[in-house]
């Protein structure tokens, strides 16, 4: 039966039908839905791990024990899982192991646009790259066989556009693959120098065998149209090329970007007069083609920055003087309009704490999550955002560099899930190497930005069943922090007092700013607040919150009744008591 599936759901079906038994992942846009869809099956084990390294190692353990296993993450998650990846390449697998990684060209929801293909090359493992949901299903399914046949983990590379685009997919049935017997194999699985030295040559031999496979496999194909122009392309770039040229140019479509074929490329290149390489992000295929001594046009025409589209292809070939099918004709030029950046929701529990920090002119090292939005106007509350956990580790270094001068006016802010991911180790460092740093854990009781995933602090697992709950206060104390306190970010006085006292303290401290995300189903909104326009003097203090529900209309503050959830933070700010519930007026 044909179903309309987003790429990530197709990957989930592919893995499931390929005999997956265990998947461990950490959420990250655009990869999250792979594991969410799989969690609907009760005959396999799915979980959210605290971070991608743990997830990848859990998948390794399951493979070692004989099960087909997987992990899924966003591109920057593979940085975290890189440690197991590079040595997994040496050990190989028992049950097939698939590492799903989703790149984010154009940074729809990421802090960089790194190209995961470099990891496959560097770790010397095969990588598959589908162009749409149908291929995502097929590649995910066959990746297990590839993994077991070549005794290697396989990376399945997605990108935002494919992960979140739907197309029709013919899905089959689940292949029941029995657990392989566990046999102790020290020389294969204990990677100490003596054994690893024996494994490395095997990796090189495996790469040679995979190179041979690349010449003749289901993943790479030539569409020979006898044209003068030839295009080597992969991923969604293939779709844009087809959109523009249809069947009028010859194409070498690469579905296995590592290792790349040689003869196939040479033969293709010699069959055309002019060769183009069209790939998003880095010139991985192009560099390979050049290394073969073949001339081609790639990044000189197609940017290494951002996403492509059919428009990108048209504009490039227009410059080249190449003709193609129909030219789109615009009805008109859109007027210039103000931008609409994402922002913290009305009633977001992070807002009260960020307001307090901004008001007190505190330097704030930020982290990855919804609360990165504390950086935008009017709060402008953040000074840095680097990667998961870098707020906590970074504040220590910041204070080391500038000593007592900054310890009284700098904090790190990090979410509950991010703290579990990689904030804990930074906190150990603060305690152990003793800076008087203050860390604020913005505990909204969920992994927010990726769309509400459970984590070890929420007390529920991926299926919503009760699970062991990390006690954040006890954890921080156990890591060596004596000053740990909890505040309600809807209470501005409490926030300010806590921040001032903890910054003044002569020892490291943690403030847990705790209130569940307002979008959680169990959080019931309170009655919306209103502005009494007779009392409002247009001082605009409430506007400093950057709440999407509050705006100035006809010279007075006004609260949008459909957006306000009655959090009451603005009410505490108003010096004229103009804000309140209607009944009180």
């Amino acid at each position: 039966m044909k179903k309309l599936l987003i790429g990530n759901e197709a990957v989930a079906w592919g893995l499931y039908h390929g005999g997956l038994r265990v998947i461990s992942s950490y959420p990250g846009t655009p990869s999250t839905e792979i594991t969410e869809f799989l969690s609907k099956h009760d005959d396999i084990h799915t979980e959210w791990a605290p971070n991608e390294k743990v997830a990848c190692e859990a998948a390794f353990g399951a493979s070692l024990a004989g099960a087909r296993s997987a992990c899924a993450m966003k591109h920057v998650g593979l940085n975290v899982a890189a440690d197991p990846l590079f040595t997994l390449s040496y050990t190989g697998v028992t049950g097939g192991l698939v590492i799903c990684v989703a790149d984010d060209p154009a940074m729809h929801s990421s802090q960089n646009e790194q190209d995961s293909r470099h990891y496959a090359a560097a770790a010397k493992v095969p990588m598959l790259e589908p162009s749409d949901s149908a291929e995502a299903y097929a590649f995910a399914k066959s990746a297990f066989t590839l993994s077991e046949e070549y005794d290697t983990p396989v990376i399945l590379r997605m990108c935002t556009r494919i992960a979140h685009s739907q197309c029709l997919v013919e899905i089959g049935n689940r292949e029941e693959v029995p657990l392989k017997e566990y046999v102790k194999q020290p020389a294969k699985y204990i990677m100490m120098p003596g054994y690893a030295k024996v494994r490395h040559p095997l990796v090189e031999q495996r790469t040679e065998r995979l190179r041979a496979l690349a010449e003749n496999c289901e993943y790479n194909r030539v569409e020979n149209r006898g044209s003068k122009i030839g295009i080597i392309t992969s991923g969604c770039s293939y779709l844009y090329v087809k959109e523009v040229f249809g069947d009028s140019v010859s194409i070498l479509k690469i579905g296995m970007p590592n290792p790349l074929p040689e003869k196939m490329i040479r033969d293709f290149a010699s069959s055309v007069e002019k060769l183009y390489v069209i790939e998003e992000l880095d010139p991985v295929i192009e560099n390979h083609v050049r290394a073969l001594g073949i001339d081609c046009t790639g990044k000189s025409l197609f940017s290494a920055v951002g996403e492509f589209s059919q428009q990108t292809i048209r504009e490039a070939f227009r410059k080249e003087g190449v003709s193609f099918g129909e030219q789109p004709e615009m009805q008109g030029k859109a007027p210039q309009v103000p931008g609409r950046p994402p922002m913290m929701c009305s009633g977001c529990p992070h807002r009260g704490m960020f307001y307090t920090l901004a008001k007190n002119h505190i330097t704030v090292l930020g982290d990855i999550g919804c609360y990165t939005l504390g950086a935008v106007a009017p709060l402008n509350a953040l000074d840095s955002t680097l990667c998961m956990g870098a707020s906590v580790s970074g504040i220590h270094g910041f204070n080391l560099a500038r000593g007592g001068e900054t310890e009284k006016k700098t904090v790190a802010v990090i979410g509950d899930s991010t703290f579990m991911h990689s904030g804990m180790t930074g906190l150990v460092n603060i305690a152990y190497n003793a800076t008087n740093s203050t860390v604020i854990i913005l505990d909204n009781s969920i992994t927010g930005m990726t769309g509400h995933q459970q984590n070890p602090t929420t007390g529920y697992n991926i299926k919503g069943d009760p699970a062991a709950k990390v006690d954040l206060e006890a954890l921080c104390r156990a890591l060596g922090i004596r000053r740990v306190r909890v505040v309600d970010p809807y209470n501005l006085k409490e926030c300010e007092q806590a921040v001032k006292e903890e910054l003044a303290a002569e020892e490291p401290s943690v403030i847990i700013s705790r209130r569940p995300c307002v979008l959680l189903k169990y959080v019931k909104p309170k009655a919306p607040l209103r502005v009494d326009s007779a009392k409002c003097r247009a001082c605009r203090r409430c506007m400093g919150l950057g709440c999407p529900a509050i705006s100035m209309k006809e010279g007075k503050a006004r609260i949008d009744q459909t957006l306000c959830v009655g959090c009451g933070v603005c009410e505490q700010l108003c010096p004229f008591e103009a804000i309140g519930e209607e009944e009180r007026k």
Partner: protein
């Protein structure tokens, strides 16, 4: 047949994902090759969001670029204007006249262009603007704006109304069906 391209644009949280799901189900049922491209993640937090829906005999690209779009369905005035360059000659833009101020307007860093739809019309854009919020509230919830708009679009779609209703029944949870059916009807006749 030529591929038809539709864009559903609005503000994160307005319910464009349900609208595209409805369209996807309908077009699949009609036997077309269909591609739908959504936005997840950060832009859903009150940012500008766009969903692309394309259908025909064989569809390659899941996205729509300048001068390609047959129909833009906009949940908000400003967002309709933002993507107007995507409209092809002969295309139509359906706009809900609702105004949602973006943060730069709220903070006073920018001004909301109040007459933006008139400006589009003056420039020769085929603009079909109407208030979708009032019928949505009449149907039972501000959240039904998405189905009011889809009802309005259905009239231009060339696909029989009953097929739309069947797709709606498949897409919407049973307990919201009555409200959405009403919203669809009000949009269709608006």
């Amino acid at each position: 047949m030529k591929t038809t391209s539709i864009m559903i644009v609005g503000v994160g949280g307005q319910g464009s994902l349900l609208a595209s799901k409805l369209l996807g189900n309908l077009l699949t049922e009609e036997g077309y090759d269909v591609k739908v491209s959504e936005v997840h993640g950060m832009s859903q937090r009150g940012g500008s969001v766009v969903t692309y829906v394309r259908y025909g005999q064989k569809v390659y690209s899941p996205i729509v670029t300048e001068g390609e779009c047959d129909f833009i369905i906009s949940f908000e005035k400003l967002e309709g204007a933002r993507y107007a360059s995507c409209l092809r000659k002969g295309g139509k833009i359906i706009v809900n006249t609702q105004q949602i101020d973006p943060m730069p307007v709220i903070t006073g860093a920018a001004e909301y262009p109040e007459n933006v739809l008139e400006e589009l019309k003056t420039q020769g854009f085929d603009v079909d603007d109407f208030d979708a919020l009032t019928p949505a509230l009449e149907a039972g919830s501000a959240k039904a704006v998405n189905i009011v708009l889809m009802g309005h679009f259905a009239r231009h779609s060339g696909i029989p109304k009953e097929h739309w209703i069947q797709a709606l029944e498949k897409t919407v949870p049973a307990r919201f069906l009555e409200m959405n059916r009403k919203a669809f009807e009000l949009g269709y006749t608006a």
